[in-house]
Subunit: 458 residues, 2 copies
């Protein structure tokens, strides 16, 4: 039988769904490392079938393994573990639910599905006693979910902040190093294979939001879906923003941030300025890095390659060994637990800090007027710097053409305040007659560093 | 019964051996997080006893739990898991073997014991089907053993290189930042609580060697003991060495390095120059960081606090939750596997690179003579720089008093060669009449970076 414990030394049957960039590497590693994997599992791993849409496109997979009948494959008697590297919500959801209901363990790299409907998958796994592993869904090769679920199981995680999307990190790194604008950097990313033809999932933050939902769910024992995650992408980050960050001793990164605040959970994805002295600031190109802060363990950082065929396959195979080993010796991997069931904090109620650059008329009383608007909204200012107007105003600035000789730029960094108060402040500032335009607004993450590190010029 | 699976919802009995810096934090976290831990385990954790030598010294532990009879505690019927945070080889070895033979699972933070006699503990665990976890034995709070054993179970680890001892890292950081010599920096470490009254285990590399043995054993599926690890400490690192490293764009760190070289394992602990651009170079004070390179996953880095009561207790509790959960639902954690059983390479056969600073007589032909000695030993030179004699010769240099006006320093960095050939080269150089003394010898680790990063001045 397929759903029970394999105690008789027979091979563990593996079904693979998908044979693309990751799947072909899974096949390669299963073949090349067959002996070692058998030692680690306690029984040989036997690849019984590979479901693909167009068999003729996969000459590297033995022809007799290829099938277009994924639904038939996941219920085969000789399948113990289903490995899914197709991606997307449907038809994968139905296939994996069927597999779990039939007692097959599932290993998935599918962040979108896990972030949208992880609860249904977890429930199906619990019902049949099968395993559900998905280490590869977040940060590729970097061991992250297992440390959160298991290594830190005796601790209290308070915050996760990280760079979990390689495409946007490549684009922001390119903008910072070359001065390129967003469109130029995106084109370069596409040329080098770091961005897909349709980059929406990456640049608009959907990919990072799915990962944030998965991380927050595991860290805070609360079901958080991608829809619960506040999401802003990097399309609006300008070369002027990058320059403004540099002037503050900062760099801009797209961050996924998950926090427990009192008895609520906050999960968000947005670009933010971080101090250049912070370890995340030096994570460049397509690398990923994630900070985890726990009450007893303190700050931990995990760093590595967040994407790529072999890298993602490494994480998939680690899960496959665990699931297969549980078939051999009994027991189950960690269950998704949602016992804490905390409410998700709205973005407006989440405390953040803003960097605001204002193009203002350079006359007496302007700063007092601007500061008054901040005060009215209960927002405390950390630093203000006044600059003569250079050429650094935002691309969308209507005044770009002919700034008067009496213009100046005010660069303001706030202390932390509810995000809604900060947004309302910026909105109110645009109504002042002395404010000619908002040249840039970005959140600032000190990431635990003292505020003083954010002051001063470059 | 204590050795079997607890399927009836009764509490999991925990015995704690030791209530010092780590043990007292284990008691605190078990108490404060009781509800959350019960959710994660599936049953309450019940602390049934705490074995200490002098009960009156532990007013923070409930008096009725304290006992001096550790041997009696580890065999009690109501104990499922024994948590050991005493440290040292004996009498702990006997206590843990007894516990395992009686079917109790063991969680230990004891690097010395695991590195010396892990095989006996693993065998005892296998025999009774109990668990043996020891995440806290290496790098404190940083999840490291679980990623190596489980997350990377489907990959092939080729190299581990890291900073795994906080005391020596603090001392070397202090020397680099203040120019202090070794003795001054050690005293400062002692004053601030980073070094023990007898710092031998740290500064002579015993602690790091134990950790290297544990890491190499798990990574390469081969039993490696502390005695197999080549070990050099930091007592001989001079302020001149630090300055020489800086001139090469490097910094000096005590590294633990474990490699698979062809069909052998190499494990070593020694100070080494590493490029200042490498992420390990910026790991300062008492922090730990470990790089793992795997065939498919590529380079991964793990960073965090390697010591401290709460930090180490976090790792201990993660293991305790895993062991307790296995009691509740059945199954076992990963076994230590030594199926590969690779031979350990002698240090002399391990390929390394040297930095050699020679005080030489400044006359024609000296460089040719020196280069000839390298060539005779089959050692290829990467860079040579000749410097006028400053005040930077080694502390032990007999010529220190009155250098002649015609002296110079040759700074040589080699390409990689067998360590024995490099050592023999240095020995032969001291026999040249033009060489007045060896001002410094240190290994250089490029850590995968191109050689060019090591060339040039500061």
């Amino acid at each position: 039988m397929t759903g029970g414990v394999n105690g008789d030394g027979r091979p563990i049957g593996v079904a693979l769904l998908g044979a693309g960039v990751v799947g072909s590497q899974v096949v390669r590693l299963l073949t090349e490392q067959a002996d070692e994997l058998a030692h680690r599992v306690g029984a040989p791993l036997h690849l019984v079938g590979v479901a693909v849409r167009r068999p003729q496109r996969h000459p590297d997979v033995p022809a007799e393994l290829l099938t277009t009948d994924a639904a038939g494959l996941v219920t085969r008697e000789d399948v113990d573990v289903v490995v899914e590297v197709i991606g997307g919500i449907d038809p994968v959801r139905g296939l994996l639910l069927t597999a779990l209901k039939n007692g097959k363990s599932v290993v998935s790299a599918n962040k979108a599905l896990l972030a949208e409907d992880g609860a249904a998958l977890a429930a199906a796994a619990d019902e049949s006693g099968a395993d559900l592993y998905y280490e590869a869904s977040v940060a590729g090769a970097i061991p992250l979910l297992r440390p959160i679920q298991q290594s830190l199981a005796g601790d209290r995680i308070v915050r996760i902040a990280g760079i979990v999307n390689g495409t946007t990190n490549f684009i922001l790194s390119a903008m910072a190093s070359s001065g390129a604008n967003y469109t130029e950097a995106l084109e370069e990313a596409g040329r080098l294979g770091y961005a897909e033809a349709d980059p929406t999932a990456d640049v608009d933050g959907y990919d990072a939001a799915s990962k944030a939902a998965i991380l927050a769910s595991l860290a805070f024992h609360t079901r958080v879906t991608a829809d619960d995650v506040h999401r802003e992408g990097i399309r609006d980050v300008t070369a002027a923003d990058i320059a403004a960050a540099r002037a503050l001793g900062c760099t801009i990164k797209l961050l996924a941030i998950c926090e427990q605040v009192d008895d609520s959970v906050s999960a968000r994805v947005h670009p933010a300025m971080i101090p250049r002295s912070h370890p995340l600031a030096s994570v460049s190109d397509a690398y990923n890095a994630v900070f985890i802060e726990a009450a007893a363990a303190g700050q931990l950082m995990f760093y590595g390659q967040g994407a790529g065929g072999p890298q993602t396959a490494s994480a998939v195979l680690g899960d496959l060994v665990a699931a297969a080993r549980n078939r051999v010796i009994g027991g189950r991997g960690p269950r998704d637990s949602a016992y804490a069931d905390l409410p998700v904090l709205a973005m407006g109620d989440t405390r953040t800090r803003y960097h605001v650059a204002l193009d203002v008329t350079d006359r007496a009383g302007v700063l007092a007027q601007v500061a008054g608007v901040f005060a009215e909204h209960g927002v405390s200012i950390a630093t203000v710097r006044q600059e003569g107007r250079g050429g650094s105003s935002g691309e969308g600035d209507a005044d770009d053409g002919a700034p008067g000789p009496k213009d100046a730029t005010l660069v303001i960094v706030t202390h932390s305040a509810p995000d809604a108060a900060l947004a309302a402040t910026v909105e109110a500032l645009t109504g002042l007659d002395s404010v000619r335009g908002v040249a840039g607004v970005l959140r600032v993450e000190g990431l635990g560093r003292p505020v003083t590190e954010l002051g001063g010029g470059s």
